[in-house]
């Protein structure tokens, strides 16, 4: 598996190819649509991270010392960003996840989506991913 930083750089490179925000957003929307379905057994209150506008369901499990995340959201833009977060963090060791610094978000120019305005659940989602990583590290 590639390191978290290498994946982040790949994503940054991907986004650098786009000329404008429309292309970036269309790409995010595509990623959102392509995000593998969350097993409906996991779409439960316990896995819900409530933003004030869109909601995120997040599931984590451990497999061969790495964490695998699956998730869903009711808003497609949010789902697109989730897809990126999963691409970056899934399949890494709990320690790598806990220590990761997610700089790609600032670099690809979608920080608006990650402001602490609580409008979507993404800030809480990143926090939750790290908490899962720590919790499953045993």
């Amino acid at each position: 598996m590639k390191s978290i930083d290498i994946i982040q750089n790949e994503i940054i490179d991907d986004f650098n190819m786009f000329d404008d925000w429309i292309q970036k957003y269309e790409y995010l929307i595509e990623l959102g649509k392509d995000l593998p379905l969350l097993n409906s057994a996991y779409k439960i209150e316990d896995n819900l991270i409530k933003g004030c506008q869109s909601q995120v369901w997040l599931h984590a499990e451990k497999k061969n010392d790495t964490i695998i995340f699956t998730a869903d959201s009711d808003a497609i833009m949010t789902k697109g960003i989730i897809a990126l977060l999963i691409r970056v963090l899934s399949h890494h060791s709990p320690q790598e996840i806990a220590e990761s610094k997610l700089n790609f978000i600032a670099e690809i120019g979608i920080t608006d989506q990650l402001s602490p305005t609580r409008a979507n659940g993404l800030v809480s989602m990143i926090k939750q991913m790290k908490i899962y990583a720590v919790a499953l590290n045993n």
Partner: protein
């Protein structure tokens, strides 16, 4: 009278803003309106020339600030057609005003008493009453709404009884735009001896208010939704209604005599104005009232109705659009969804086109529950909006839709 919209727009500096390289199209007026230069200048002028604490000072500036603050009280009194200046209490906003009354009722009511609100209320007109009920044991009854966004008045007439002590209803729904039949509610409530609080947060620039005719016991609103500054609200109450409430906050101006043996309270309005008020904001509210009165509330209403009708027609041309709130009697608010699209996604995308609308539950979660939706996209007009801006907004929504489906 025809309003000169170009002239009006020129009074709002922010309308010249560019957002993401596009002209700002501000259609989030239900959340807060923009401010004309006269309001902004009133604040600047206050701080540059007049700033001083009010009421008890004997020096010139203190007298001046006091005089200007009291002038706003008088302007509010006239604006809403109240009987007395001391029926006007300055608060920090509509929410603060409602809490003041609801807190008072938690000592006035007891188990068995009932409070009536409706399904379309803003959280600010729900939660204070829930807290009140928790504290005093009264129970909360809810007027349901019909599919078109109007109150189910039959239900209301069945629900209200001698046990009802207060009815708290918004004048205009911030999510649906529905103008509620507050006159009917007030007269029925009074028949049964219940008091009525009207949440006028969305109404002050759309309805000519006359408290004596309307006969509401309490009426609340926020300055920032009527072209005024943030941090200022009004609680109007009939003299006897306000006098019946216990004091809310203690401190500063609201006392007659403080001693450790016995503290007595000042008469209205001071009784409810503890602490240094938002002096600059209150003084600027006077300019906001002047602005609204100069244009004329009826003219504002009619113009916004034109915008509403045009926009409603145009938006309904987009396939899959559903509008929530279809009362004939509504103001310039359009809450909508597009089939299969989350409102959040629409808001995020059209923002990039410079269009500011609100998406989400608009602090009316029970109403969202009622329609079984996570939220809506909401366009809300002010007097400075134009048909051209609506066209830009509609185009942006269409583009968002084409990206999202």
């Amino acid at each position: 009278m025809m309003l000169n919209i170009e002239n009006i727009r020129a009074q709002f500096p922010i309308l010249a803003q560019q957002i993401h390289g596009k002209n700002l199209v501000y259609l989030d007026n239900g959340a807060t309106t923009q401010k004309p230069i006269s309001v902004i200048n009133a604040i600047t002028n206050y701080y540059k020339n007049e700033n001083s604490n009010v009421h008890r000072g004997v020096h010139f500036l203190s007298g001046l600030a006091t005089k200007k603050l009291e002038k706003t009280r008088n302007a509010v009194k006239k604006f809403i057609g109240a009987r007395y200046n001391h029926e006007i209490i300055f608060t920090k906003g509509a929410t603060d005003s409602i809490n003041l009354v609801a807190n008072g009722y938690s000592t006035l009511l007891k188990k068995g008493d009932e409070i009536i609100i409706s399904e379309l209320e803003h959280h600010s007109n729900i939660v204070p009453w829930q807290i009140c009920c928790e504290n005093c044991g009264a129970s909360l009854k809810i007027i349901p709404i019909k599919d078109n966004g109007e109150l189910d008045m039959d239900c209301f007439y069945n629900m209200i009884s001698k046990n009802t002590k207060i009815v708290a209803i918004s004048h205009i729904s911030n999510t649906l735009g529905t103008v509620n039949p507050v006159e009917k509610i007030i007269s029925k409530a009074h028949e049964l001896g219940a008091k009525v609080l009207i949440d006028g947060a969305q109404a002050t620039t759309h309805v000519n208010l006359n408290m004596i005719d309307l006969d509401a016991d309490y009426y609340v609103f926020s300055a920032h939704k009527m072209y005024g500054p943030t941090g200022v609200g009004v609680l109007y109450g009939k003299e006897e209604a306000l006098n019946s409430l216990p004091v809310y906050q203690g401190g500063g101006e609201m006392i007659k005599d403080v001693s450790f043996k016995k503290t007595t309270y000042a008469p209205l309005p001071h009784k409810f104005e503890a602490g240094t008020p938002n002096i600059a904001g209150i003084i600027a509210l006077n300019e906001a009232i002047t602005f609204v009165l100069k244009l004329g509330i009826e003219n504002i209403y009619n113009y916004e109705r034109e915008l509403l009708e045009y926009a409603t027609n145009e938006i309904l041309k987009i396939k899959g659009v559903v509008i929530y709130g279809n009362s004939k009697n509504k103001t310039g608010i359009i809450s909508f969804n597009i089939d299969g699209i989350h409102p959040y996604d629409i808001g995020v995308i059209i923002d990039k086109f410079g269009v500011a609308i609100r998406t989400g539950h608009h602090c009316t979660q029970p109403l969202m529950e009622r329609f079984k939706i996570p939220g809506t996209a909401r366009i809300s007009f002010a007097v400075y909006n134009t048909i051209e801006e609506i066209n830009i907004c509609i185009e942006a929504i269409k583009k968002a839709k084409s990206m999202l489906v």
